[in-house]
């Protein structure tokens, strides 16, 4: 996409190198297979090791074998992954923001030393269980419980819509312990724990989405995340993931835009390329502008995250704006592609379907609207 505003010049050389090396991996290893993986509804789990080798996993952490890149570099990386498919970015958002981040920030030294190097190489995969069948936008109402019995905790409950659940070696699970929300680590194959995949998705088909069942699931005492106390701790993880979403969806939008622009220059109707018609130019001009604005918003957000001064509402603003932008862009591009836009020879419809999930997960569009509303007025309107 033509960089009209020289946005590249806002980034450091290292940040651009992170983007370019990720792009190279995506072009060589992911783009050739994505159509088939999407048809099969399969996440190519063998890619986890490649992501690990590149340093994508835990990229912002500066220890335990991780690279310690800036939030803007991490954002550009997310953009490149989602340029291919939201499923790949979802995988890394979960592994990084929802698993490695809480272990790093809320875990014991033993938990960090055991899990973080394995998660960084992709040898281990993680998932994050907060949402429940009856508690989505209202996670504080969760009914999954933990009780202590001797040197163990016993978990009971159900989590739903959990990215990576079925393929995870370790789950970060939130449950009520004496009525207070608390984070735990649950290893796969723990008796009483199962993670069947949710079937029938027409969105994020390249990502694994699962239920997590806990039926008198006993975990050792040392699997409690010591500092993961209260809903605030869980929301801190979500803020990490939301930052990568705000960035990632720009990649999906760019992929759709570039494809539609190219198509508009080569598709001839009424003896000229459809890109020569005012209605098509109006669409292209608008989405190019929308993508550029989203990039500028994200660059600023990443800088605030690096400075440690990003307020949660700022992250909500970027997630809300950019996902809506990307979803609209995908729909407009699908439209420009005409009938070709409904088949998977082109990327637009896959991105469009994926972005419906992204619009809903990690705080729905409407919930982020209410976060901004509360920030403005001081009055929460969630209930």
């Amino acid at each position: 996409m033509t960089d009209l505003y020289h946005i590249d010049s806002l980034f450091s050389e290292e940040e651009l190198m992170v983007r370019d090396t990720t792009r190279e991996l995506v072009e060589n290893e992911l783009m050739p297979g994505v159509r088939d993986w999407n048809r099969e509804g399969r996440f190519p789990v063998e890619m986890a090791a490649q992501f690990g080798e590149l340093g994508i996993l835990g990229a912002t952490l500066d220890a335990y074998g991780c690279a310690g890149v800036s939030y803007n570099a991490y954002g550009l990386m997310a953009q490149e992954l989602e340029r291919c498919d939201s499923g790949f970015r979802s995988f890394t958002s979960a592994q990084n923001g929802l698993v490695m981040y809480p272990i790093y920030h809320f875990g014991s030294e033993g938990q960090k030393e055991y899990w973080l190097p394995k998660l960084a190489t992709g040898e281990a995969i993680g998932c994050f269980g907060l949402t429940e069948p009856d508690f989505g936008s209202n996670p504080g109402g969760m009914i999954t419980t933990a009780r202590q019995e001797g040197h163990e905790y016993v978990l009971n409950g159900v989590k739903r819509w959990i990215t990576n659940g079925t393929i995870a070696d370790i789950a970060v699970v939130w449950a009520k312990l004496d009525d207070k929300i608390q984070g735990f680590l649950v290893a796969k194959d723990t008796p009483g724990f199962s993670a069947p995949e949710i079937e029938g998705k027409w969105s994020l088909r390249v990502s694994v989405t699962s239920d997590l069942y806990f039926d008198e699931c006993r975990i050792p005492e040392y699997n409690l995340l010591p500092e993961a106390v209260g809903l605030k701790a869980a929301l801190m993880c979500l803020n990490q993931a939301r930052h990568s979403i705000a960035w990632g969806v720009i990649g999906a939008a760019i992929a759709c835009f570039e494809e539609a622009l190219e198509y508009s220059k080569t598709r001839i109707q009424f003896d000229k390329p459809i890109g020569g018609f005012q209605l098509v130019q109006a669409k292209l001009a608008q989405i190019w502008t929308d993508i550029t604005k989203a990039q500028l918003l994200c660059h600023r957000l990443g800088s605030l995250m690096d400075a440690g001064t990003a307020q949660p509402a700022a992250i909500s603003m970027a997630k809300r704006n950019n996902v809506a932008m990307a979803l609209n862009t995908a729909r407009v591009c699908r439209d420009i592609l005409g009938a070709s836009g409904i088949v998977d020879d082109y990327h637009a419809i896959r991105h469009m379907n994926n972005l419906e999930s992204v619009y809903t997960y990690e705080g729905t569009h409407d919930i982020h609207t209410l976060i901004l509303g509360e920030k403005l007025t001081g009055i929460p309107a969630y209930k």
């Binding site: 033509t2 960089d3 050389e13 290292e14 190198m17 992170v18 370019d20 090396t21 190279e24 991996l25 080798e53 590149l54 340093g55 994508i56 990229a59 074998g65 991780c66 690279a67 310690g68 890149v69 570099a73 990386m77």
Partner: protein, 248 residues
Amino acid sequence: MNLLVCVKHVPDTETAVRINLDDKSIQTQDVNFILNPYDEYAVEAALLLKEANGGEVTAITMGPDAAKKTLRTTLAMGADKAIHIACEHTADSGATAKCLAKAIKENDYDLIFCGKQAMDIDNAQVPVMLAEILGLPNISAINKLEVADGKATAHREFEGGVEVVETSLPAVISCHKGLNDPRYASLKGIMMAKKKPIEDSGCSCSVPDIEVVKMEYPPQRSGGKIVGEGVAAVSELVRLLHEEAKVI
């Protein structure tokens, strides 16, 4: 082993080339420059040798200041240090080889790797010229390499066969596709590259040996010609392909 890799900062192969108003150079604005793809095999070959035998990998380039970006790519892939020769005459293979040779003579390298050619000018001359100036043996466009006992054995592929060539060290070796699978610069490598040194080396070519006189675009493709229909048109079509298009 003390290993050197000669690399070039070239426009991305997907670049739509635009000629400057002077008709002698291309516009570099909005052009993405990358490590020359053939040089990636050279970097990988050097890194593999270092990993097997120990030692150090140095990357060298001649080019404008912006070419340091490409050196940093090699450092991010795993090279230990780099040398930048500030010189604009990168379209001149002779000047390039002389500049490189001067910087190289100051060090003892066991092996000097190059890509078989740079994807911008496509001369494929620098490795051979460099070897000649340095008085070293050269093997061009290899796709397999073994180094042992002070000798290098390399495979060169040609239509219908393979040539196996052996040389003493030091030597200049240019690398072709198939030699290895170049690694991606890892995020950790990128962060570490910031701390690795890039030495500035002066340019020794005051006047280039060749001059770019003019650049022009290939002629616009004109529309097709319909010769006729059916079997009757075949002989005329064959005649035109033979006499006018000269493709058969």
